[in-house]
């Protein structure tokens, strides 16, 4: 087994596009088969509103947090072209964004439950870094022995969350736009505990085989459930997890 992996790696590294001509015969005499894959990669994307609200005036910078994704997928290939898959993944989803906002309703919450809410105008930095256990379920379409497409949904459980940041160089209006104006040099917020524990959404992607067992893969997961509950006042618009996983799939 070890030797085979080494051989595979050598083949991959040297050839890049190796030889699989003999596989064509399977198309005629296909037997349903279970396949196992290890999926590994990184998530790139954002926890963001779909369509920016007009209170966000400018995005100054954005970058992805270190967001690895590692999982296992079991698929059942019923025919040579069609099958289904279910997986379990550990997904980190994170980003950092620096932006400028105007009359942005938000809240400063304290651990003892007291809060100070109002409309903020100024600069903001938000860091999101959440970890989910994700169960993706897909229909799988395999048109040929290179490409493999999947489309389906996912359910995810949050097990570690952070959603925090700072507001600076601005002011907040206590209670709303006509409230007391309070100059903020710098203040922080932390909504990590307010996040919903469960996320559900659509996911789909494609894999392109580059080795005997190795494919490069991209998979987009689009959350359909706002990450904060409706009665949460810290953000007045719904935000969703929208992340693209880029990585590899290794068939075992």
């Amino acid at each position: 087994m070890k030797n085979r992996i080494i051989v595979l790696l050598i083949v991959m590294l040297t050839a890049g596009s190796p030889l699989f001509a003999q596989d064509h015969k399977t198309a005629t005499s296909f037997k349903p088969v279970l396949e196992h894959r290890i999926l590994a990669g990184f998530n790139f994307g954002a926890t963001a509103p779909v369509g920016l609200p007009n209170t966000i005036r400018k995005i100054n910078s954005y970058w992805s947090e270190f967001s690895p994704s590692l999982g296992y997928e079991l698929s059942y290939r019923a025919t040579s072209k069609w099958g289904a898959a279910i997986g379990v993944k550990l997904d980190y989803k994170g980003m950092q964004v620096k932006d400028e906002v105007m009359y942005f309703p938000t809240i400063i919450t304290t651990k003892d439950g007291a809060s100070f809410s109002g409309d903020f105008t100024g600069k903001n930095k938000t860091i999101v870094h959440n970890a989910y256990v994700t169960i993706p379920v897909s229909a799988v379409f395999t048109p040929n022995d290179r490409w493999r497409f999947n489309l389906g949904g996912y359910a995810a459980w949050l097990f570690s969350s952070s959603f925090y940041g700072s507001v600076h160089d601005g002011y907040i209006r206590n209670g709303g736009s006509t409230g007391e104006k309070i100059i903020i040099d710098e203040a922080t917020f932390d909504f990590g505990k307010e996040l919903r524990k469960f996320d559900i959404g659509l996911q789909g992607g494609a894999a392109y085989r580059v080795g005997k067992k190795l494919s490069v893969t991209g998979n987009l997961a689009w959350g359909l459930r706002p990450i904060f509950s409706d009665d949460f006042k810290g953000m007045d618009f719904p935000m969703y997890n929208i992340y693209l996983m880029l990585g590899v799939a290794y068939k075992i």
Binding site: V50, G51, Y62, K111, A114, S115, F116
Partner: protein, 356 residues
């Protein structure tokens, strides 16, 4: 198939960095400044944004003949009556200003409040309710005519997220020396917000003559306590009654207990020149100070104790110079440095500035 993937990527990218929408119309409706010629004033105009009050401290002549203010509002907003309309203090005169935001949605009303202290004798019988934070209304001390002569750190404490009206450091008490009520000042523990963001571990109970400027509370809390009201005449003594019980554990500004130290209260009056107010950063150090009267003994007093402190003059008194008088009391002497003992309790009643 490849293009499908590209579509997704494009859709993703589009949703993230995509279209910044048109800026929202300004929903604010402020009177930002209210300027009156200095010669008409005995103290600087104070705009209490949280209550929508414009406090004027006028000379007798200005009161009789009226003034013409220059009003600066949120750019794009509208105000009625207009800036530049003269303000007369008779029954037909302007009492209120209404500002409408550029967005047209919000309206803010400001009431003109004349502050004039005729009698420098205070029995602390009249209390009102401050609704700056609607869900946590707290008590506020009022002047005889309901005007705002007195202020406290309560607003700042509210800002720091105290959620129970009973937990504000200044409130009334029925344990009075005379009459029904007296002022009670209690040093309170910091809130999660104040400790986490501002490194403030306690709030001393405070009561002072002047205004609390909430606007600078986050930036520089010591500047938000604006001490003093216009004063005329030469003061001789500062008198009153107090009770004091220090809290059990004295703590430093980082919240660490300090062994062997007992909290003390402070009560003082400061007379200074000018029309703009001193604050907690300079009330003892300003060059403008003429005279002070400071309670020498801030230790525990189980029963009502009389104080009668003569003013100590640092400069000679000049009746022709505009002056202000500050009266400040705190349940923790070093409360302005956030040092003291949680639970220290100062009761104050029937105080007076006695003229020569």
């Amino acid at each position: 198939m490849k293009s499908r993937k590209l579509c997704w990527v494009a859709a993703l990218a589009g949703s993230l960095c995509g279209c910044i929408k048109d800026a929202p119309l300004n929903p604010e409706a402020d009177i930002e400044s209210f300027t009156i010629d200095k010669s008409n004033l005995t103290g600087d105009v104070f705009i209490d944004q949280s209550k929508g009050r414009i406090r004027l401290y006028l000379t007798r002549t200005a009161y009789d003949s009226g003034v013409v203010p220059t009003i600066k509002i949120t750019p794009g907003a509208t105000i009625t009556p207009a800036s530049g309309d003269s303000l007369k203090f008779d029954s037909a005169g302007i009492k209120k200003y209404t500002v409408i935001s550029p967005s047209g949605v919000n309206k803010k009303t400001y009431t003109i409040e004349l502050v004039n202290i005729g009698n420098w004798k205070f029995d602390f019988e009249k209390w009102g309710i401050d609704k700056t934070f609607p869900e946590i209304p707290f008590e506020t001390l009022e002047g005889e005519d309901g005007s705002a002569i007195w202020s406290s750190g309560n607003l700042g404490v509210g800002l720091a997220g105290v959620s129970n009206p009973k937990e504000f450091p200044l409130r009334s008490t029925t344990d009075a020396y005379q009459g029904k009520l007296a002022a009670e000042l209690e040093t309170r523990p910091g809130t999660e917000l104040s400790m986490g963001f501002m490194n403030i571990y306690l709030f001393a109970g405070s009561l002072f003559m002047g205004n609390f400027d909430l606007g600078s509370a986050f930036q520089n809390p010591l500047k938000s306590t604006q001490f003093g009201q216009p004063y005329a005449g030469e003061p001789a003594r500062f008198t009153g009654y107090y009770k004091y019980k220090p809290g059990p554990v004295f703590q430093d500004e980082k919240g660490n207990p300090v062994a062997g130290k007992t909290d003390e209260c402070s009560i003082y009056a400061v007379l200074y020149t000018g029309t703009s107010r001193l604050d907690a950063t300079n009330i003892f150090t300003s060059e403008r100070i003429i005279a002070t009267a400071v309670l020498p003994d801030g230790s525990a007093k189980a029963d009502w104790t009389h104080f009668d402190i003569p003013f100590t003059f640092k400069k000679s008194y000049d009746p022709n110079v505009p002056m202000m008088m500050a009266i400040v009391a705190s349940s923790s002497k070093d409360g302005n440095y956030y040092r003291g003992a949680v639970g220290s309790r100062l009761l104050l009643d029937n105080i007076e500035i006695v003229k020569k």
